[in-house]
């Protein structure tokens, strides 16, 4: 297969396994490109991409922008903080105004789940979901799997535990879909209050004891506690959360095997992960960031090639 089965990247849910493999193979080539003395290719010189961020982001926005520029696309940026959204403009109106400036592709982050799907039904441009509420964050899940594949050779058959705030996490949901599609076993681990009630219906194991979870897994993906999305208290104190669900060096050293540690960022050092673990050899956190650019280049390239002239 040499073509994606979709015209938008709205969520892992809509992808087939072959799509993921195609994105990975293309990302391999882009990873080589971004390690050259000149890190830019001219493929997308006639494509304009709008980055619409209706919610804060540092890493994802920078990563997308860098990926777009490495592909020679023209890039326009938009953050809701400085826009007419505050004046009451609707999402479709905002986006249609931007598209009338001849934009071919939209990368969007939005606080509402399903915003990308909604938009794809109403506008004529290729859409990449850069995170919609607590729903999906497909490029993050792709780069996480890609980093596992790079570190351990393959994703198939691996045991991955996602630890922390599963309830508010779009990264968790996209990761579960992506890992299962590639034949990995997935477990979620966290305080009961932060585990969605019917999460086991997705075919994942559920664990509330971190030590048991770490002993089971090959890879642990540590998530941040998303305080900004919490309107009530989900655990007694940060200190107690850290004691039960934080990873530290002593805990890792006491396991039978060496596991790989991941984190989608931003890290709350000393809460879900201690500094010595985050900066250790077992951690592939910075590889994830580098792979993010290659993965996003691949996704943008493959989607752009479906936009006909």
């Amino acid at each position: 297969m040499s073509e994606l089965s979709v015209n938008h990247l709205l969520g892992i849910k809509y992808l087939k396994e072959q799509d993921i493999q195609l994105i990975f193979e293309t990302a391999d080539h882009f990873k080589e490109v971004i390690n050259r003395p000149i890190k830019k290719v001219p493929s997308l010189r006639d494509i304009t991409i709008a980055n619409l961020f209706f919610e804060n982001s540092t890493r994802t926005k920078l990563s997308f922008e860098l990926a777009e520029k490495r592909l020679s696309a023209d890039v326009i940026n938009f953050s809701s903080g400085q826009s007419s959204v505050k004046k009451g403009e609707t999402l479709i109106d905002t986006v249609n105004n931007i598209l009338s400036m001849k934009v071919d592709m939209v990368v969007m982050r939005h606080p509402n789940p399903g915003a990308g799907v909604f938009l794809s039904k109403h506008i004529n441009a290729s859409i990449i979901n850069a995170g919609d509420g607590a729903h999906e964050h497909p490029t993050q899940a792709l780069l996480d799997s890609y980093s596992i594949r790079e570190k351990l050779g393959s994703v198939k058959g691996k045991k991955v535990v996602i630890v922390g705030d599963i309830l508010h996490s779009r990264v968790a949901l996209s990761n579960i879909f992506a890992l299962q599609l590639q034949g990995a076993q997935v477990m979620v681990c966290g305080p009961k209050t932060l585990l969605p009630k019917y999460i086991d219906k997705l075919g994942v194991k559920v664990e509330t004891d971190l030590r048991k979870a770490l002993n089971w897994c090959d890879v642990a993906n540590m998530l941040r506690v998303q305080n900004e999305r919490m309107d009530i208290s989900y655990f007694p104190s940060t200190r107690e959360y850290t004691q039960q669900f934080g990873v530290n060096k002593e805990l890792l050293d006491s396991l039978d095997k060496e596991i790989t540690i991941m984190h989608p960022g931003p890290i709350n050092r000393g809460v879900e992960i201690t500094s010595d673990v985050a900066d250790s050899k077992q951690s592939i956190i910075l590889d994830q960031v580098q792979n993010g650019v290659a993965i996003r280049m691949a996704a943008i390239y493959l989607l752009a090639s479906k936009i006909k002239q």
Binding site: P37, K39, S43
Partner: protein, 179 residues
């Protein structure tokens, strides 16, 4: 679909040896020369020529690379299919080097145009030459000509030249295929 043999294994072998000798004539000990096979089909020719230079003519330490031009092509989004990339393998800098691009068939010259852009990502070479096994006459879209050519052929538009290699297609041969 009919096909005609343009070159058989023996003829291919003779031509490869001649091309190898022509390269030696110009580049002597290859100390400042790098050979770059163009993906996907030029790499077989590049690998084979390198082997002949090393085994038969005792040239040592030849620097050989593979260059993929997919992301530099000028027909992105113009065809039906997504352009699929291949591996680029250039483990050296080409700054101030004499480069020989190696490809199996020179047709419109557009791949070579893309390769000229692509190689700039690896430095500023001293000079670039082009070696092709088959040169299709009267089919160029760009002012590009080979410096070393195996065989020049006249091919009309609905015909295709297919180069086969033992490593990949079980035999060394060149066919003219009528579509």
């Amino acid at each position: 679909m009919s096909q005609k043999v343009l070159l058989n294994a023996k003829e291919v072998n003779i031509i490869l040896h001649r091309l190898a000798c022509q390269l030696i004539e110009k580049h002597t000990d290859f100390s400042n020369t790098v050979l770059i096979g163009l993906q996907p089909r030029g790499v077989f020719l590049a690998d084979r020529l390198t082997k002949i230079l090393e085994d038969h003519y005792k040239v040592k330490n030849i620097q050989l690379g593979h260059l993929d031009i997919t992301f530099y092509r000028d027909d992105f989004r113009r065809g039906e299919k997504t352009l699929e990339a291949n591996t680029t393998k250039i483990n050296f800098l080409v700054e101030d080097k004499n480069i020989v691009f190696i490809d199996d068939v020179l047709h419109t010259g557009r791949s070579i145009r893309a390769a000229l852009t692509a190689i700039q990502s690896f430095g500023r070479p001293n000079e670039i030459e082009l070696l092709t096994l088959i040169d299709r006459r009267f089919s160029r879209h760009l002012p590009i000509q080979p410096d070393y050519r195996g065989r020049q052929v006249d091919v009309i538009n609905n015909e295709k030249v297919k180069v086969n290699w033992k490593e990949n297609d079980n035999e060394d041969s060149v066919y003219l295929i009528e579509k």
